[in-house]
């Protein structure tokens, strides 16, 4: 098992510091009588193949790939920093670079969707808990659907409805009385649609967890709060919420990780013109005709670093807890 976890990681890192061999060029002089001699540059197929066979990884380039235009683009960033005066201008030009654009969307998506999911999940859980007992199972069943179904399928189902010819798209056009309102044409709308999809997809997960937490709520605490004259909102705020706090932390953590790797909705919504994420970036590099393995690997390494930074506080806390338990 460890073999399959550790080896690919090493392989990814290795590939990210190697670039494919350039083709070996030779100058061929062809001389024809009467016309004279011409020199042509041609690809020496044999030598190229030999070189590739000898060193399948490619030539060693160190951190070059990380620095090129497709990734961290250090040169361009420096140039933009020097050329722009205000921060907003710098930011808008920075997000034109592909890597930073993807990063920008990934982070926005993560930090908008995560709190929304927690909020919606909590509200729905409170609500369902107040329903008539026999209805609850049915509600849980229906609400699990968007979560269990593959993100690609879920996003497609939603996309066809939001499409300017679909039912929701038409309703939105009708509400704003603007027949030209179309998801495909507007970056802002596309981002909103992706975020709505993200909440729709993940809220059931939060709901189920919170709902299970509500079942373990100690009744005497609620009663005590009622005797003390707490209003309903106060009961929720001071009794229910503290009781669910560990679960809120758990859901937020899982959501942070899941949203950071947002990928399928972008394919489903056909949104790559308006929004790209880091995962989509890798997919795109790998999927093309040329299979740019080293570029994809470099992005992979950067993504893994991003995840690690995101998780670092959690990891530290878990480690501390573990040490204390010992």
């Amino acid at each position: 098992m460890l073999l399959f976890i550790a080896l690919p990681l090493i392989s990814v890192v290795l590939q990210s510091i190697y670039a494919p061999h350039p083709a070996v060029l030779v100058e061929v002089e062809t001389c024809t009588p009467l016309v004279g001699c011409t020199t042509e540059t041609a690809i020496d197929q044999e030598a190229t193949a030999d070189l590739r066979a000898a060193k399948p990884l490619g030539r060693f380039v160190g951190l070059e790939i990380f620095k090129d235009r497709g990734h961290l683009a250090l040169l361009e960033v420096k140039e933009i920093w020097g050329a722009t005066s205000s921060f907003e201008e710098f930011f808008s030009r920075l997000t034109n670079l592909p890597f930073y654009r993807a990063m920008y969307f990934t982070l926005t998506f993560t930090f908008i969707v995560t709190p929304l999911v927690v909020l919606v999940g909590f509200l729905v859980a409170l609500n369902v808990n107040a329903l008539y007992q026999k209805l609850r199972g049915f509600v849980v069943f229906l609400s699990l659907l968007p979560f269990v179904i593959n993100p690609l399928i879920g996003s497609l189902v939603l996309f066809w409805m939001i499409d300017s010819r679909g039912i929701l798209g038409t309703s939105i056009q009708w509400i704003f009385s603007d027949p030209n309102l179309s998801l495909k044409a507007s970056t802002g709308l596309m981002w909103i649609a992706l975020i709505v999809y993200g909440v729709w997809h993940a809220a059931p997960f939060a709901f189920v967890i919170f709902y299970a937490g509500l079942q373990t709520l100690p009744e005497d605490q609620i009663e005590a709060a009622q005797i003390d004259g707490a209003s309903r909102i106060q009961q929720v705020w001071y009794v229910v919420l503290p009781h669910l706090m560990p679960l809120v932390a758990f859901v937020a953590l899982i959501q942070l990780m899941d949203n950071f790797r947002v990928f399928e909705p972008i394919i489903g919504f056909n949104a790559s013109a308006h929004a790209t994420s880091l995962s989509w970036f890798i997919f795109n590099d790998l999927g093309g005709e040329t299979r740019q393995l080293s570029s994809a690997s470099a992005t992979s390494v950067l993504t893994i670093l991003g995840v690690t930074i995101l998780l670092l506080p959690v990891l530290r806390r878990t480690w501390k807890d573990f040490r204390e338990k010992k």
Binding site: M1, F4, I5, L9, S11, Q15, P56, N127, V128, A130, L135, G137, V139, V140, F141, L142, L144, L145, P146, V148, I149, N150, P151, L152, I153, L156, V157, L158, W160, M161, R165, I167, T170, W200, F205, V208, I209, A212, G213, E219, Q226, R232, I254, F260, R261, F263, N270, S279, I282, D285, L293, S297, S300, V301, T303, V307, L310, L311, L315, T318
Partner: protein, 293 residues
């Protein structure tokens, strides 16, 4: 909560039910709509002229004489040979579930009985793996697979999926095993069982619910995976998800969106049944992780 329920005013009651219905519409309506629409022609599914066409199937009637047509399904399943992808999907799911459960039960049992030290490492690996997008690992797999000439084959993909899934499976089964008291296998051993017999005859029967839950989650992972399968499988070995994505590329140009709609509905149907049958297990699996973690 009975005391609290009695005191609710009618206004609040109405509010609660309105919100619940609203939530149900949000979560279920898109699926019902797509299912309904998949039996129509494209002009009805995306009705520009009049949205009620999508309900009544005006154009579908004009074209086929009835308000429902299976033309989309026929196109997807027969013309585009979607059934191949369905078979591939189930082969892959079956082997992924079997392999990861075999390794998972044996490994999880061993870990839970061997003391305290592994718990933290296991938890952290499971966590990191949960966090890492699987696609970041794919580029690491690809070059060696090309070199060894095993790219595009089903067994290779099964191994990769199992590997990605394994830390999570181990973690889940491990926490299930820890709930089973040690006295149980000790008493079995006192009665003359060997360690393995104790595991097979005593622990496994008690473990069934846990094994089923974990199996469900590995199934969902294998079934829903898009990134790994689309990158590691060759064209004829594709599973459903990459095929649906491939439909999108070709059908938008050919104007055959209904093929994709039909394929999406077909791919979602097994999950629908799965949730219906195993709702309790899915919920308990989701919450088990939360309570332990």
């Amino acid at each position: 909560m009975s005391a609290a329920t009695e005191k609710r005013s009618t206004k609040l009651r109405v509010l609660i039910y309105v919100f619940a219905i609203f939530w149900l519409i949000i979560s279920a309506f898109p699926f019902i709509w797509t299912l309904w629409g998949s039996f129509k022609v494209e002009l009805d599914f995306f009705s520009i002229a009049d949205w009620t066409f999508a309900l009544t199937g005006e154009r579908t009637t004009a074209e086929y004489g009835r308000a429902f047509t299976a033309a989309g399904y026929e196109g997807a399943w027969v013309k585009e040979e979607f059934w191949r992808n369905v078979i591939n999907t189930f082969i892959i799911c079956f082997f992924v579930v079997c392999t990861s459960l075999t390794i998972g039960t044996l490994g999880g049992y061993a870990l839970s009985r061997s003391g305290y030290r592994y718990t933290f490492i296991l938890l952290i690996t499971a966590l990191i793996f949960r966090a890492m997008p699987p696609i970041t690992l794919v580029s690491g797999y690809m070059l060696p697979f090309f070199e060894w000439n095993v790219w595009g084959k089903i067994p290779t993909t099964v191994i990769v999926l199992v590997a990605i899934n394994q830390p999570f499976t181990l973690w889940m089964l491990h926490s299930f095993f820890q709930n089973i008291p040690k006295e149980l296998d000790e008493s079995a051993k006192v009665d003359g069982c060997s360690q393995f017999q104790a595991f097979r005859n005593v622990i496994i029967p008690v473990m069934w619910p846990g094994v089923i839950t974990t199996g469900l989650f590995s199934f969902l992972l294998a079934y829903n995976d898009f990134a790994v399968t689309s990158m590691l499988l060759s064209e004829e070995n594709r599973t459903m998800m990459p095929k649906v994505a491939a439909f999108l590329g070709t059908t938008y140009t050919e104007g055959n969106v209904m093929f994709a709609v039909a394929a999406v509905v077909s791919a979602a149907a097994p999950l629908f049944i799965l949730v219906m049958l195993f709702q309790r297990q899915i919920v308990s699996g989701l919450t088990a992780g939360a309570v332990k973690g």
